[in-house]
């Protein structure tokens, strides 16, 4: 490959000025004029109840109220992978905070006031908060009509139960595998729910204009998926895809929370009832916590068989997921993670049951890591414990069993090239693995821990990305894609990829945020697939433009197109060193022939990428066959942790994390993802904690009581390490790394606690309180469930 000019370089972000000057426009910053209406919702106080009667008459009488809307007005279903949700509750509510009715008013205060005047009568039903209870035969049904719900073909819901999906994997013969083992060790691990806590809340504005077309402005990771779901849900009104337009300005953080469709459905749906006026729905921070997506909770039982030499012989992994009241997106977390629940290890005999349970808690959905953080908390903890029982160093144990390129994955396809071993070695070196360290403070100990991560993009086999690229007169470029800038630096990476192909500096390229009327299709900005998928589409669009340029020059200058190349915004020729033609001389105007006619014209590139090798067709009883995951990104993280023996308080002295980015298109941005992800992971490990009361109400839906990290919680030292083993089908070899940084952090810390204190904590978060209680000899310290409503999920 010729030397790269822009790819692999720490190019300055092209969204810099927008974001540093205050110019960046987010959904709530857009002006909609004096005609703008505001909606607020009536929320269920019950976790599970039948709606007996709704009386809106008092609310309607309040001056300034334009409309009060109930489920009867909008009886439409929606959902990404399974249609199990309604815009407003119909007959039944399934979590505390669920929207039952909506008030549309002239101003937000009136809307809020009117909400309190809507009288809803309920007949409470028994709620279920534990996924294990939901699995019991006698459990009350949360979705009695589950058997009839439309869903994607790779889900297997069981009608007349609370099982929304069951991903079963059977590979080899686990009986044989466990019989071959010298040691079989089994235990359970628990992970509670977590909240994304993007600083910007969810918001959307819908307009059903007088001509009957719908425009939605939304804070979203998924403009096209939103358009599709809006059009599908509102199809009974005669609305078609071309009549729905979704515009997504900058997004103030996503982390998966703004993927798919949650509250945004209210904007277009309510707009259809007030034709001609825009309607705004903006969540409060409280609603952001309890009525968007939450990360799923997990009960995880792991049984691992190993030989004396450390070879893993068999794995039986049972994952029972608390997926909440609606699982239209969350069930795919269960599916995707289930298919990867061997962790990054080579295991011949495997039994996995990844079970998606409805519960009466808020809907579980995508959260950075898409289930892998939860799944690997157990497995990476278990690996350390098994290694210790064998007397084998846990790092050596991991290296011995680490999956390699070409190894068979649990569903039969082959593992992609990867730098897992290099990641392990470099992290081990950074944290001085094997060297016992002591704190200068006699009340403190130092523990070291390591954990591995892997994750594949979780996407339908036909998830596609597209790009249009148009040149301007001065050879600057505008690129239109529908991938979202959510903080990760996507716009810059896209500019680097296109700039590399076309020899144009990224500083001369604008990448526009999506408007579905103009920007071409993108499935969603999720799954850490955008650098790979959209990057491929953009590379193809740039190559398409380059091909047009070379063909034109061949036609006008009689040079062979194979001999042409681009350098510094000029067309050059390998066989004619004197030839130089600046792009700006012809890229819009074309090239004048001797007779005064022009050839060529404005150059427009078009690119598309779909992973045509992917398939979800497999045997539902074994998951054998198909190619459900396109590739895995792997990595390792290690920590030097200081722990106060008395208080249990922990301080991260040093954390190193190595991820295999294939090719870091922008190494600074990769390191930025690693630094941010480590802290987000550390917070879920150490203190973030959703607390529900025994009626299913979230007790801490704010930043005072649900603590996310502040400046004070930063680790003393962070070492991000980039590994580059090329992804053969990635743009310049790149694969995604956005979610991965936080995945290994929780088990890494759990392993460091054990290293320092000999305590194994099997339920997240690994709070100072749990550590202190465990040190104090309270054996229940790691399983404080009895009598404590705060741990109802544990």
């Amino acid at each position: 490959m010729e030397k790269l000019k822009f790819v692999g370089k720490p190019e300055t972000r092209i969204d810099e000025l927008d974001k540093i000057s205050g110019a960046a426009t987010f959904i709530d910053d857009i002006n909609f004029g004096p005609d703008l209406l505001f909606a607020a919702v009536v929320e269920s106080p019950h976790a599970h109840a039948l709606i007996k009667k709704i009386d809106v008459s008092r609310a309607l009488k309040l001056p300034g109220v334009v409309k009060v809307v109930t489920g009867k007005d909008l009886p439409y279903k929606f959902g990404l992978y399974m249609k199990d949700r309604y815009i407003l509750a119909q007959e039944r509510v399934r979590f505390v905070g669920e929207q039952v009715a909506a008030v549309i008013a002239r101003d937000p205060k009136t809307a809020m006031k009117a909400v309190k005047l809507v009288d809803v009568q309920y007949k409470p039903l028994k709620p279920i908060f534990s996924p294990v209870e939901a699995l019991e035969k006698k459990a009350i049904l949360i979705h009695p009509d589950l058997g009839g719900y439309p869903h994607v073909p790779w889900f297997f819901p069981k009608g007349d139960t609370n099982i929304a999906h069951w991903r079963k994997i059977r590979k080899g013969d686990t009986n044989k595998g466990f019989a071959e083992a010298d040691l079989v060790f089994e235990d359970t691990y628990r992970v509670p729910r977590y909240s994304h806590c993007a600083l910007e809340v969810h918001g959307a504005v819908g307009l059903y204009d007088l001509s009957g077309r719908i425009t939605v402005w939304a804070a979203s990771q998924s403009p096209y998926t939103q358009r599709n779901l809006f059009a599908e849900a509102l199809a009974p009104l005669g609305i078609t895809h071309k009549d729905v337009r979704v515009i997504t300005p900058y997004v103030g953080g996503g982390f998966g929370g703004k993927a798919g469709v949650t509250m945004e459905i209210l904007a277009p749906a309510l707009a259809t009832l007030v034709k001609g006026s825009p309607v705004k729905v903006l969540w409060s921070r409280e609603q952001e916590f309890y009525n968007t997506y939450q990360r799923l909770g997990l009960h995880n039982r792991i049984k691992l068989g190993v030989k004396k030499d450390g070879t893993i012989t068999a794995l039986d992994n049972e994952l029972i997921w608390d997926a909440g009241a609606y699982v239209e997106y969350g069930a795919n977390v269960v599916n995707a993670t289930g298919l990867s629940s061997t962790g990054p290890y080579r295991i011949h005999h495997v039994k996995i049951d990844s079970i998606c349970m409805y519960t009466n808690l808020p809907p579980g959905g995508p959260y950075r890591g898409f289930g892998y953080s939860e799944m690997l908390f157990g497995l990476e903890s278990h690996i350390n414990r098994v290694a210790a029982k064998l007397g084998i160093d846990p790092v050596l144990f991991r290296k011995k069993n680490a999956i390699k390129a070409g190894d068979k994955l649990v569903y039969g396809a082959e593992m992609n090239p990867n730098g897992l071993i290099e990641a392990i070695d470099r992290v081990a070196k950074e944290i001085r693995w094997g060297k016992k360290e002591r704190s200068k403070d006699p009340d403190k100990v130092i523990g070291k821990g390591m954990a591995l991560c892997w994750k594949a993009p979780a996407m339908p086999p036909n998830a596609s990305s597209c790009a249009y690229l148009k040149f301007n007169e001065d050879a600057s470029i505008n690129i239109m894609i529908s991938a979202m800038e959510i903080g990760q630096g996507l716009l810059t990476v896209i500019a680097q990829i296109a700039g590399e192909i076309l020899s144009v500096s990224p500083s001369k390229i604008r990448v526009e945020t999506p408007d579905t009327d103009r920007n071409p299709y993108e499935w969603q900005t999720v799954a850490s697939h955008i650098t790979w998928g959209c990057g491929n589409a953009v590379k193809r669009a740039a190559e398409d433009a380059r091909r047009q340029i070379f063909e034109l020059i061949e036609r006008t200058h009689h040079l062979k197109k194979e001999d042409l190349y681009l350098e510094e915004e000029q067309v050059k020729c390998r066989t004619k060193p004197d030839f130089k033609l600046p792009l700006k001389d012809f890229i819009i105007s074309g090239i004048m022939a001797k007779d005064g006619t022009f050839k060529g014209g404005p150059v427009l590139g078009r690119g598309m990428f779909m992973p045509e090798f992917a398939s979800t067709v497999s045997d539902p009883e074994t998951s054998q066959g198909g190619h459900p995951h396109v590739h895995y990104t792997v990595g390792a993280a290690g920590v030097i942790l200081e722990i106060d023996k008395e208080s249990g308080k922990m301080r991260i002295l040093k954390v190193a994390e190595a991820l295999d980015a294939g090719k870091a298109i922008n190494p600074d941005l990769v390191r930025a993802q690693i630094s941010g992800g480590i802290l987000q992971g550390a917070a879920t490990a150490l203190y973030e904690d959703m607390r529900f009361d025994n009626k299913g109400k979230l007790l801490n839906p704010n930043f005072t009581d649900y603590k996310i990290p502040t400046f004070m919680e930063t680790p003393e030292e962070i070492v991000p390490i980039i590994i580059e083993v090329a992804q053969p089908d990635g743009p310049f070899g790149a694969r995604g790394i956005g979610e991965h940084p936080m995945i290994p952090i929780a088990p890494m810390i759990a392993n460091a606690i054990e290293d320092g204190l000999g305590i194994r904590i099997r339920s997240m978060p690994l709070t100072a309180e749990k550590v202190a209680l465990a040190v104090a000899g309270n054996k229940e310290g790691c399983r404080m469930k009895q009598g404590s409503v705060s741990f109802i999920l544990l």
Binding site: S21, F26, R285, G676, F711
Partner: protein, 150 residues
């Protein structure tokens, strides 16, 4: 009850009619059109709405608009001069932002700190900015920008 308040906003005299209970953040954003202060939590926890009143950083979601009467208010839009340009350059150099939603508040807090203490060390930055939440960066890149001696 309605009331007219007069104040200096980004070095310009302004007057605006507000209700007694109106929150300053909402008045700045919805009545005046100053959009850099953001609402992230509406209870003073996140710092996204940070502005300067008489040179001191405050959470504008916790301030009544009537309290701004006769005061001097500066938002990110009104910060001018070499110092702020220098700080912005460092934010670029170290990638001290990702989604950008918290950036206006973070920059305001940093400006206040640097005025008092032009050469803060990392601990001083952490303490001064502990009220500004950022979910993306992990903070280290912001600390590096503010402590960078160049």
């Amino acid at each position: 009850m309605k009331q007219v308040i007069n104040f200096t906003l980004n070095n310009e005299k302004r007057s605006v009619e507000v209700e007694t209970g109106d929150i300053l953040l909402n008045v700045l954003r919805d009545k005046i059109g100053i959009k850099s202060p953001k609402c992230g939590c509406d209870r003073g926890d996140c710092g996204a709405c940070t502005i300067l009143i008489n040179g001191k950083s405050v959470r504008s979601c916790l301030v009544l608009a009537v309290e701004a009467d006769d005061q001097d208010i500066i938002t990110l839009e009104g910060l001018k001069g070499k110092e702020i340009e220098r700080l912005k350059k460092k934010f670029l150099k170290f990638n001290s932002f990702q989604c950008g939603f918290c950036s206006p508040g973070v920059i305001i807090s940093a400006v206040e700190l640097l005025k008092k203490n032009p050469r803060p060390d990392a601990e001083e930055v952490k303490e001064a900015l502990a009220g500004n939440l950022c979910r993306c960066t992990g903070y280290t890149s912001i600390i590096r920008a503010i402590t960078d001696p160049s």
